[in-house]
Symmetry: C3
Subunit: 140 residues, 3 copies
């Protein structure tokens, strides 16, 4: 069995933003030498996501508008009890649950085994500081 | 270490529909010869889901009604920027995030290690064409 | 390859409640002897979740309020078709989809490979009876 562990750092300027991290994950998989197995990619922070969807800017606008409607930003402790702690990002913890913490992707013949439009994204919901994504490859 | 990779194809007639794929996944696990390990099942398309819940038709109606309320179908580009591309399925990309892309299930003693009501479903949110599910077994 | 399988039982008194299960998962990982690999933790019941977020009581209040807004409890079969079966917990099946069934966590150097605030929770949405969480460790 082979394993490989890498940590990627992201520092997105906007409160809410998405970055396509597929090329970085694909490179780590190739470097691992694993030809059959799984790769786990997860946000190591609880106001961020790793998710798989389409690399289309209109869709990303839609995600932002939709998440803002489901869990609006509001720094006040009246709306969100979490903000009593001095934080202002309770909404980001909620948005991240909708989009998910992690993806697990199959590795087949040494490559990410993807459908035609699948791309891996880092999703930031609280922004403005560096956060990490863990990439763990396991297989043979 | 053993691995096995299979692709299942689904072509559901309705825009939104669910199909119980547990027997197919269980058969692949048995054929793999893996007795202890994990099986990843994921939609390979970004307007579809694989999820685990109850095989009860009333609940499936509830999921459909609820998802339609959270992310209504609307082909217009006024509501969804993604539909400026000529697509009409932005809502399906949103619905799929709520229901999830994938499940990872434990294999114990050669079988899916499930609670009493757990069943695996393929969830279609855009319908009317063939889509694939990837099944990756890893273990010993 | 090494694997280890454990089942944890929870019996939370409230309809909706969260319990931090990180110490129990960390202990199982240590007992497994796996130093590099993955651990899957999933609810074995379809009105419960395992998820990762912050151990902050205000945030947990926010999750409860937010989930109640997204999928309100209503025992009547008028609102939820699932409740025609005599069940009263259709809302719990919906809440669980938002919060997720499972998490997969990397094991590095024999420990859960976590960011600074990541904690694993059992989430109960229907309460008042014992339910199980499956923990499956796989690695070397």
């Amino acid at each position: 069995m082979k394993t490989k562990t890498e940590y990627l750092t992201f520092n997105l300027p906007a409160r809410m933003a998405f970055e396509n991290i597929t090329p970085k994950i694909a490179a780590i998989v190739r470097e691992s030498g694993v030809t059959e197995g799984l790769v786990l990619c997860n946000a190591m922070h609880i106001t961020a996501s790793v998710f798989i969807n389409d690399d289309e800017s209109g869709l990303h606008e839609d995600y932002q508008k939709w998440l803002e409607r489901l869990a609006p930003f509001d720094a006040s402790p009246q709306r969100y009890a979490h903000n009593r702690t001095g934080e202002d990002n309770a909404d980001a913890h909620l948005k991240r649950q909708v989009m998910g913490r992690e993806v697990v992707v199959a590795i087949t013949n040494g490559e990410l085994d993807f459908g035609p439009w699948e791309q891996i994204f880092y999703g930031e919901f609280d922004g403005r500081r560096a956060k990490r994504v863990l990439v763990k490859v396991i297989g043979e």
